[in-house]
């Protein structure tokens, strides 16, 4: 094959990890929400898109990118809180199908509202000045902004890990995901925890959208494909498992990049083939709990 070298494979691997880090950002939110609330959030892609648009709007009124990094997840997360409180909370205890369908419908609404407000055509989002250009990573040049995205993802992961492992709220979330009733009888208002977790997941999705905006621009439909990919990641990693979401996200990224190297047109099917194979061997995914939801 023309131009195949060790450097290229290294660069390719790196590109895969960078790509995977965007998947991870979406998948941890999905997984967190599923693990805690057993809600399969079909609107997650819409929240991702919303993050990109909120960022676009903030940038257009002169807010700088670094402030957006904080403001966007807060705004999108806040919207997530409102959604949980008004639409999803009435559905707890009614099985997995109803929240799934509701969020499916909700995603239509969000996307259409964005079309009404921002128009149907997309907008470009410039890469922040400080993050333009490419840097040498040893095996070749790689866009600085993508390194930045990887860095932010890593930071979020570390932050989330510290939050879950070291704080009181983290302890509540870890325990609540396994046994909500116990947490309730130990004095925790579990509905508030669910509310916060949903908001947190949506906020991270919104941040993902903001980070993706300079990579691909923004359009109302941008949440669709990434949602499908994030679902694959969540399922392969094991629904509800954060560790699984991280590993599977990176794995899917690498699988895509390696397929891209050898059979690029198969890159998309490779994701689903991977998912089919993993699920047939291990139906609950890497770190999922067997028998869940069955």
């Amino acid at each position: 094959m023309a131009g195949l070298s060790l450097e290229l494979i290294g660069l390719q691997l790196f590109a895969g990890l960078a790509l995977g880090s965007v998947y991870v950002l979406l998948a941890i939110g999905l997984s967190l929400i599923f693990g805690m609330l057993t809600v399969v959030n079909f609107a997650h892609g819409a929240f991702f898109m919303l993050g990109a648009y909120v960022g676009l709007w903030l940038l257009s009124i002169g807010v700088n990118f670094w402030i957006c990094l904080v403001a966007v997840p807060l705004i999108v997360g806040g919207f997530g809180l409102a959604v949980e409180r008004t639409l999803i909370r009435p559905l707890y205890g009614r099985g997995i199908d109803y929240p799934l369908l509701l969020t499916f419908g909700l995603s239509y609404i969000i996307v259409e509202l964005v079309r009404i407000v921002f128009g149907k055509s997309g907008y470009p989002v410039a890469t922040p000045d400080a993050l333009q250009g490419a840097v040498d990573i040893g095996v070749g040049y790689f866009p600085l902004y993508r390194l930045f995205v990887m860095g932010v993802t890593a930071l979020i992961l570390v932050g989330l890990w510290l939050f879950l492992e070291r704080t009181r709220y983290g302890l509540i979330i870890r325990a609540g995901a396994r046994d909500a009733q116990i947490v309730r009888v130990l004095g925790v208002n579990i509905s508030r925890v669910w509310l916060m977790v949903f908001g947190l997941g949506c906020g991270i999705a919104g941040l993902g959208g903001l980070l993706a905006a300079p990579l691909q621009g923004v359009i109302p439909e941008m949440g669709g494909p990434i949602l499908a990919e994030a679902f694959v990641v969540t399922v392969v990693g094991g629904m509800g498992s954060l560790m699984g979401a991280v590993l599977a996200g990176l794995l899917v990224g690498v699988v895509v990049s390696m397929t891209s190297l050898f059979a690029p047109e198969m890159a998309k099917v490779a994701i689903f083939a991977l998912m089919a194979v993993v699920l047939l061997i291990r139906p609950q995914g890497f770190f999922g709990r067997a028998g869940l939801m069955s």
């Binding site: 325990a175 309730r184 130990l186 004095g187």
Partner: protein, 234 residues
């Protein structure tokens, strides 16, 4: 201290508790006995606020609790140890204990309280940093009890704490109950092991088919072979 009046509860359409009334006084050990399905578990779940649909009245130290969510009842000083030792197996022993304090005002003294608990439960002290799943059933049950006690509740409700546990540990557990009582903790106990339970109980209520059918002191019931045979026969 705790007064339950005409408590009714439903699972879906089936009416599983009918006009249950009972009282627990400060410093007492009160026991609920009866066959499987008699409504013992449902009664304490209703008191704790874990049933979807209830009616009647549950007052604790003068506060009406019915209709309040479980976490508020905890804040009033109620603690509940469910059956089947529901500890969180993925967490360590210490984390499980910390979980008992997450919404207690005592959490500022967390380290101190964990040390104190470790003294009371020496079996847990050795394995504070092990994952809870590595412990035996009896040790897990001890942990579940310790977790409920660490926040210094006024009333502890335990659902079949001796189920499936080695006799040695059961003895240890019942000694603990008596010590707790001596220390001023009030206990509401659901137990299959009738003789053992009645041995420590000040008073006991017998439930059958969702209603209270008999009420007497522990000693009196222990002596009443007919009631035992009729409602608790093994």
């Amino acid at each position: 201290m705790l007064r339950v009046e005409k408590l009714n509860a439903w699972y879906g359409a089936s009416h599983v508790l009918q006009d249950v009334s009972l009282e627990v006084n400060r410093g007492e050990i009160v026991c609920l006995i009866g066959r499987n399905g008699a409504g013992k578990t449902t009664t304490i779940k209703s008191i704790m606020g874990l049933m979807e649909r209830t009616s009647g009245s549950v007052t604790f130290e003068g506060h009406e609790l019915l209709g309040r969510p479980a976490h508020e009842r905890f804040a009033h000083g109620l603690a509940y140890v469910p059956e089947e030792r529901r500890i969180v197996t993925g967490l360590t022993v210490r984390e499980n204990l910390r979980l008992g304090l997450v919404s207690s005002p005592n959490r500022k003294k967390e380290a101190e309280l964990i040390d104190r608990t470790a003294e009371i439960f020496p079996r847990l002290a050795e394995r504070l940093d092990q994952t809870a799943i590595t412990m035996s059933g009896g040790e897990q049950q001890m942990l579940a009890i310790a977790r409920a006690l660490i926040s210094d509740p006024k009333l502890v409700m335990l659902d079949e704490p001796s189920e499936g546990i080695m006799p040695v540990l059961v003895d240890e557990m019942f000694e603990l109950f008596q010590n707790l009582k001596a220390g001023g903790t009030t206990i509401l106990l659901v137990e299959q092991n009738v003789e053992l339970a009645l041995g420590v109980a000040d008073r006991a209520y017998v439930l059958d088919q969702g209603s209270v059918v008999h009420h007497a002191t522990g000693a009196a019931l222990l002596a009443d072979a007919e009631i035992q045979e009729r409602y608790c026969s093994v």
